[in-house]
């Protein structure tokens, strides 16, 4: 059971590292916490912070769906921070460094911290519209291959996280992780969980000692704690599990134990479904529309170098809204997928009033910046891959 889980953890970590370092992909857009950070801006302004995409929201949805069914199994099977913390703690234990047991009262008090961390991050992110904490985020430092806005504090935080894991079991996951706070209400509602049969349990306490989240499993018949990560360590360590002293599955009078494969299947299905949905329905992360669409519209769909972030998408919109030689009169809808590897832009316009060439010129020609009273170069170049087509009413 534990071995299977470790293999799943390793598979996820290898997949992430390979995507980041071998495929050089933009892994930040697959972070579920990015979805939580992006939600407000997306609902309020229809746009997402820099580097995030609709995939973040879909992954968050997929993971939350998993949490609704199998609690925080994402944390114990897929999260790279969870895996690294756990392996660090395990390595320390092998070296004879036993983790400190934290008193239940202290544990309960510290368990409030993730909500505070979440509140602070969401408040400042939503207020500024920017992922202002990412420079301090060790996970972002990894998946961005040390992006340009990474500060030394990201590595200090990463070092602290691992050092803490040497002393206490999963300190970040238990007392700091803001994603855990997002999961909390969903995890509580999950129908699947760990159940202890009092008649067959010998009360040895192996389950409580095995729980990396510090849950006193021995004191419960149904583990409904939101912090349960469905790691199934308690089940694996139970000497009486063959007699049904502890099992994983739905609560009920006639319990039927679920296999770990079902748990992993649900988790992977949620994430995979979100990833597929993101590819099938690639909604732009920046959308602006001006005017009323005419009966007949034209479309210019192009790859644009230099279109690598939300700020650049705003600049692109400003260039298309220019009031000079390259003005694009009439209806205009701008949809942008910014990406560090070169973004995509789709402009829907009125062909009776604007030619596709004019739209291209508006994007690439130098412009007069009234705020600084200077002429500036456009940072964009159109890569000739996109298509122009006439379309009906969008």
């Amino acid at each position: 059971m534990s071995r299977t889980r470790r293999l799943v953890q390793l598979a996820f970590l290898v997949f992430i590292l390979a995507s980041v370092f071998l495929l050089r992909s933009h892994a930040e857009r697959w972070c579920p916490f990015g979805g939580a950070e992006a939600l407000y801006g997306f609902v309020r302004f229809g746009s997402l912070p820099c580097s995030l995409a609709i995939s973040n929201l879909l992954i968050l949805g997929g993971v939350l769906l998993g949490v609704l069914l199998v609690r925080r199994a994402f944390c114990s099977h897929a999260c790279p921070i969870g895996a690294l913390s756990e392996w660090t703690g395990r390595a320390a234990a092998r070296l004879g460094l036993q983790p400190l047991r934290v008193a239940p009262r202290v544990d309960r008090a510290l368990a409030v911290l993730p909500f505070a961390v979440l509140a602070v991050i969401l408040y400042f992110t939503w207020r500024t519209g920017e992922l202002i904490f990412r420079g301090f985020d060790p996970c972002y430092a990894l998946i961005s291959r040390h992006g340009e806005d990474i500060t030394i504090w990201a590595y200090v935080a990463g070092g602290g996280l691992l050092a803490g894991s040497l002393l206490v079991s999963l300190p970040f996951c238990r007392w700091l992780c803001p994603l855990a706070a997002v999961f909390h209400p969903f995890s509580r509602l999950a129908p699947l969980g760990v159940h202890r049969e009092e008649n067959t349990c010998n009360g040895c306490g192996a389950c409580t000692r095995a729980c990396p989240m510090g849950i006193d499993v021995r004191a419960r018949t149904n583990v409904s704690d939101a912090s349960c990560t469905a790691c199934l360590e308690c089940v694996a360590r139970c000497p009486e599990r063959g007699r049904g002293a502890i099992r994983w599955g739905p609560a009920g009078r006639r319990p039927r134990p679920w296999t770990q494969a079902a748990l992993i299947g649900i988790l992977v299905a949620g994430i995979a479904a979100a990833a597929v949905a993101a590819e099938l329905f690639p909604r732009a992360s920046f959308i602006q529309e001006r005017g009323v669409p005419p009966e007949k519209t034209a479309l210019l769909d192009v790859r644009v170098s230099g279109l690598d972030c939300h700020g650049r998408a705003t600049l692109l919109a400003a260039l298309l809204d220019r009031n000079d030689l390259y003005a694009v009169p009439g209806y205009l809808k701008i949809e942008v997928w910014p990406s560090p590897t070169g973004g995509r832009a789709r402009m829907t316009f009125d062909p009776a009033r604007t030619a596709p060439g004019a739209v291209r010129s508006a994007i690439t020609e130098p412009y007069y910046d009234a705020t600084t009273d200077r002429w500036r170069a456009s940072p964009f170049a159109i890569e000739e891959r996109g298509s122009s087509a006439d379309g009906g009413r969008p």
Binding site: G41, F45, S47, P49, C50, S51, R127, T128, G129, E130, R134, G135, G147, E148, D149, Q288, E289, R290, G291, D308, C309, H310, G311, R312, T314, L315, A317, A318, L320, D321, N323, D324, L325, L332, P340, E365, P366, Y368, A370, T371, T372, D373, R374, W375, R376, A377, S378, P379
Partner: protein, 288 residues
């Protein structure tokens, strides 16, 4: 064999460097010729020269950029003659004026400023007209342009330019009176502070001039500081400050302005305008 191959490679490299250097020198010459034509007011010939310069050195992005801007300016000069939409007229005149000032083409800016002032006379339109007249050394005309708009209730920019015109005409007491009455709070635009420094320099208060110059440079965007400093070094109005302690230091002043890196940086991670970006309104709602 190896030696011969190495010799061939070095020869090819040197030939490439020579061709490249030749192309660069050729484009520099054509560009300089274009600048001379611009100074003579021959925009079409200048455009041809810059086009040739850009063609000769395709790797020089700055040249391509300068050519693209001039191409727009040449077209805008025609468009402005028939433009009837007030907002578009204002945008185009500002764009043209920025180009003229960047290249020191004050004689080209003058008819533009005059036309703008005639369309709607106000202190706001008189100030740029007076500024251009001062650049052309037509101080009495600058004074006249500001006569109705440089009173105590006028905007600081108009009063300051009026003061500069007085000083240039030898009416130093009047210039000092204008300078003494000035109150320039925090948030005053860099250009106004810069002119105020000019006025103080002409009025003989070197220390006040240096202090205002420092404030002006602090309020100037980092990417515009070099041009501003070179203007100060060349401007005769600041000549009296050359021996003033602190003048050289003032020209080294660091900007306090946060500048958007949208046109330069590879990402907006550290962009000070990120908030404005995230909450950007649709184009039709924008007021800037």
């Amino acid at each position: 064999m190896k030696t011969r191959l190495l010799g061939l490679c070095i020869g090819a490299l040197l030939a490439g460097m020579t061709v490249s250097a030749g192309a660069s020198a050729d484009s520099d010459q054509r560009f300089a010729a274009g600048e001379r034509m611009l100074a003579e007011g021959n925009f079409h010939a200048a455009l041809e020269a810059w086009d040739a310069a850009a063609q000769a050195d395709r790797a020089n992005l700055d040249l391509q950029q300068q050519f693209a801007v001039l191409r727009q300016v040449v077209q805008l000069r025609d468009v402005i003659k028939t433009e009837t939409d007030p907002q578009r007229y204002e945008t185009i005149t500002s764009a043209l004026r920025a180009f003229y000032y960047e290249h020191g083409l004050y004689a080209e800016a003058l008819p533009l400023d005059r036309q703008r002032h005639e369309r709607g006379p106000s202190a706001e339109s008189a100030a740029p007209l007076a500024e251009t007249l001062l650049e052309l050394g037509r101080d009495a005309e600058a004074s006249a342009a500001l006569t109705s708009f440089a009173g105590p209730d006028a905007p600081p920019a108009a009063r300051i330019l009026g003061g500069i015109a007085f000083a240039r005409q030898g009416r130093v007491d009047e210039a000092r009176a204008v300078a003494a009455a000035l109150a320039l709070p925090d948030g005053t635009p860099a250009q106004t502070l810069f002119h105020a420094a000019r006025l103080q320099a002409l009025a003989g208060d070197a220390q006040a001039a240096v202090a205002l110059l420092t404030r002006a440079l602090q309020a100037t965007a980092p990417s515009a500081q070099a041009a501003r400093c070179s203007y100060v070094r060349a401007c005769p109005d600041f000549a009296s400050l050359a021996a003033t302690p602190g003048f050289a230091g003032a020209l080294e002043t660091a900007s306090k302005v946060s500048e958007s890196k949208c046109s330069q940086a590879p990402s907006c991670g550290g962009c000070p305008r990120a908030k404005a970006c995230a909450q950007a309104k649709p184009p039709s709602e924008r007021t800037e």
